[in-house]
């Protein structure tokens, strides 16, 4: 449990944290905590009743995020955060549902759900902490691990080309796509806020340090050293062509907002379609309830 100094007021984020679970499990200089700070700030700005926001995580170090945020929150199975969130959202369209999870969880084992949710434009916001590694299980190669980087399952260097996540998201139809590092706290917070406000499938990639496994195994120092590296190597390229956003080992990281476009969400498309088919016989799904609540 957190021991507090006397007469220090409450940390403003505590309102949205499960303080009875702090300290969290993340290692010193891990970047996940910073991503959570930004997320809490974004939620704070977000003009949606907080009780109507739900957070869903899969399994992983990042997957523990749902366990620390004081909103309705679900820690599901590895790779299935997105379909769980899909159910949560579709069954109660009043909710704003955020998936907060790791690169392995969302893009490796969960890759199929990721591409299909983007395709359908399921109305959820996906925040992916990309630490280039499967951290929770001890540092195995992820589908984001840069070429040549070391991991416990690429002890001689990674020979598999990683995904460019903004490209993947955008090719599949995401309506909002951004990438920041965990150093870009303000811009990251803004992007999270924009994503929350965007109807449809929005995606925010957060490049963040895994100090214990990725950094140590690749002799990159601590999380602070990685932040310094991000400082020196990231380049803001709003609107960049998604095909140009690959990340090579310890090389430039292009960040920015890449995609912001309009497409009907899954529920909107359903409603439009049924309305056309059935006319007044059809009660638009989700809408009535919202009215009732109002």
């Amino acid at each position: 449990m957190a021991t507090k100094n006397n007469n220090v007021p409450e940390h403003p984020m505590e309102r949205l944290l499960r303080m009875d679970r702090i300290p969290h499990i993340w290692c010193p200089t891990c970047g996940i905590g910073t991503a959570v700070s930004c997320f809490i700030s974004a939620i704070d700005k977000f003009k949606h009743p907080h009780e109507k926001i739900a957070v869903v995580s899969g399994i992983g170090c990042t997957g523990r995020v749902a366990g620390y945020i004081k909103l309705d929150s679900f820690h599901t199975t590895h790779g299935r955060a997105i379909p769980f969130a899909t159910g949560l959202k579709l069954a109660n369209p009043d909710l704003k549902v955020v998936v907060f999870s790791g690169d392995g969880d969302l893009i490796s084992i969960g890759g199929n759900h990721f591409i299909h949710a983007a395709r359908r434009n399921t109305d959820i916001t996906v925040v992916c902490v990309n630490n280039f590694i499967y951290a929770m299980t001890g540092g195995q190669c992820a589908p984001t691990t840069p070429l040549t980087a070391n991991s416990s399952t690429t002890p001689y260097g990674n020979h598999e080309r990683p995904f460019n996540l903004p490209l993947l998201a955008s090719s599949c139809g995401a309506v909002y796509v951004a990438r920041w590092t965990s150093l870009h706290i303000r811009r990251l917070t803004n992007s999270m806020h924009e994503a929350l406000n965007k109807p449809g499938f929005s995606f925010v990639e957060v490049v963040a340090p895994c100090s214990t496994l990725y950094a140590r195994r690749n002799r990159l120092g601590t999380g602070l050293d990685l932040l310094k590296f991000y400082h020196d190597s990231s380049e803001i390229c709003h609107g960049a062509d998604p095909t140009e956003l690959d990340i090579a080992f310890q090389d430039k990281i292009k960040v920015g907002k890449f995609i912001d476009r309009e497409r009907p969400t899954f529920i909107d498309a359903w409603n439009d379609n049924m309305k056309k088919k059935f006319g007044d016989k059809f009660d638009p799904y989700g809408e009535k309830k919202a009215k009732k609540a109002a």
Binding site: I25, W26, C27, M136, T212
Partner: protein, 199 residues
């Protein structure tokens, strides 16, 4: 000899697990004994005290976990605070005297201190602290034959680091022998046949 349970503990990066591994391996491979090593895993262990448990016995080890340590090696204050109570005031406690300043002996618990980090730093690599501790452990407990442990160190460390590590082992061992000599007689709780043979 019946079962001796050893806990090695400290913080991540100190080579805690390796130290436990070398104890177990010395006993099992070059010491002619049985030795089972366990470690704590899990997310809750991230960034906090880490620890290895070694059970050494000259009979087959059946129950695989430690029940109550007979010997403890503590290399950090946090680890000491967390695990020392396990000894319940009995057995042997080995600490790095600079890192675990608060350590003190109790009724049936014998405390041995060594400035292992400093010795390691003097050898030029702070990282061999765990091997210094291993030497110290070997000398104090006499649980495992000195030559067995030394051979294990020699054959287990990365190529090119053998000399450094052996020096670290020897320093720790000698420091321990001297400390024992400076005592009237070792009066460890769990003195057993094998140890006497080794002595």
């Amino acid at each position: 000899m019946s079962r001796t349970e050893i806990r090695v503990t400290g913080y991540g990066g100190q080579g805690v697990i390796l130290c436990g591994y070398l104890i177990g391996k010395s006993a099992a491979i070059h010491g002619g004994m049985h030795a089972t090593l366990n470690q704590s895993f899990g997310p809750e262990a991230r960034g906090s005290a880490c620890s290895a448990q070694v059970i050494v016995s000259d009979e087959k080890i059946l129950y695989p976990y430690m029940r109550k340590p007979d010997v403890m090696i503590a290399m950090s204050r946090e680890a000491y605070n967390k695990f020392a109570p396990e000894l319940g005031g009995k057995g042997i406690m080995l600490v790095d005297e600079d890192l675990v300043k608060e350590a003190k002996a109790e009724k049936n618990m014998k405390l041995y201190k060594i400035p292992a980090t400093r010795i390691a730093e003097d050898l030029g690599r702070r990282i061999v602290l765990n091997i210094v501790m291993l030497g110290f452990f070997t000398a104090i407990t006499k649980l495992i034959d000195h030559d067995a442990v030394r051979k294990t160190v020699e054959t287990s460390v990365p190529k090119g680091t053998e000399q450094l590590n052996l020096k670290a082992f020897d320093s720790g061992y000698e420091f321990g022998i001297k400390q024992l000599e400076s005592e009237s007689k070792p009066k460890k709780k769990s003195t057993k046949k094998k140890k006497e043979v080794a002595a």
